[in-house]
Symmetry: C2
Subunit: 195 residues, 2 copies
Amino acid sequence: MSNDAYHHGNLRSALIEAALRLVERGGPPSVSLRAVAREVGVSQAAPYAHFRDKRALMSAIAALGFERLRDRLREAERAGCENLTELGKAYLAFAHDNPGLYGLMFGPETEVDPADPVLAQAGREAFAILARSSAHPGDEGPGDPGPVAAWALVHGLALLSMSGRLPVGAGEAPDRVLKLLQPGIDAHRGEADAG
Amino acid sequence: MSNDAYHHGNLRSALIEAALRLVERGGPPSVSLRAVAREVGVSQAAPYAHFRDKRALMSAIAALGFERLRDRLREAERAGCENLTELGKAYLAFAHDNPGLYGLMFGPETEVDPADPVLAQAGREAFAILARSSAHPGDEGPGDPGPVAAWALVHGLALLSMSGRLPVGAGEAPDRVLKLLQPGIDAHRGEADAG
DNA sequence: CCAGCAATCTATACACCGTTAAGATACGCA
DNA sequence: TGCGTATCTTAACGGTGTATAGATTGCTGG
């Protein structure tokens, strides 16, 4: 394991780190395979020994993003955040802190491969936490609209606020927006209890 | 106005139409300035006589997309759709029918210029219709979280369902998801009435 | 009517991109 | 120690956005 000349020793991790750095500032379009290789100080074809595609590298860092989001939500949960409003704020904080990475995580299929097993698994884990905050225990499943609504609301809010397409002042009070979903979720719980 | 050889006669419109065609099938990444020019049968530098950038062309067709969405929502409104659930279904139908264009409309700043006046105006008009369905008359304004929540929920739902990242079955019953926001909006109305 | 101007379009070129193929190098195991 | 294989380099191909210079045309004033 000599970092001397020809063999980098741990190129794969170095490429992922460099790609993460590039995507954090500049967003997805500013990360090119050549730029990543340049950043690491390696030839432009070297990454192909570790990633089949550019998409494979992008999917890898997107998966890493989902893992970070999951950890963020777990921490919030452990800190006492239970309902959607509080957990959603943690979610939005992550999106706000890592706009470039977040944009990649939900980017089009040309940039990221949704079928990538690592990426899909990480995404499911993050979703599961958010789902717990908006689903009635025992009623979990694909038929429960609560988690989907929570996911969609928070995701849409993140994207709209990040792209600056929100009316002024709206981005400063996301909790007021998130709170609007709570009564609907509670009502659905009652309905589920009755039926 | 002779469409003979050198002067196309109406290149600008032809470019927009061609770009629209390309984005409808293949999404934003499949539309390149050169491909658009090829489609129209013109040299690759010709578009620069009518659009400063590729972004300018993209913004133009994105603006056209927002106008179409606005018309769609207006039609739905005239057909009797009033509340968020019904209007949201029309919104989702548009996104589902024009996935490529919708993806561009909310694309990153590298693809579309949010400051483009035509684009911004068209976006505001579309938002205004959706806002009417979720804001209390007299309480409209940047402080009202209802319209923002509606916009975010519908937008997030559209993106998630289009990217196939939704739990199975969820995309088939969007009205159940949309309905969850109604109690919150109503509650806020009551609150606004009281305060 | 026609000369000249401005708008439009073409040809060419540059730098960058993703990707591939062929060859050099070094690690690890027999 | 020698050899196979993973790793990395160099070079190349076709594609992209964009800038420049020049050709062509429509329009307008005399």
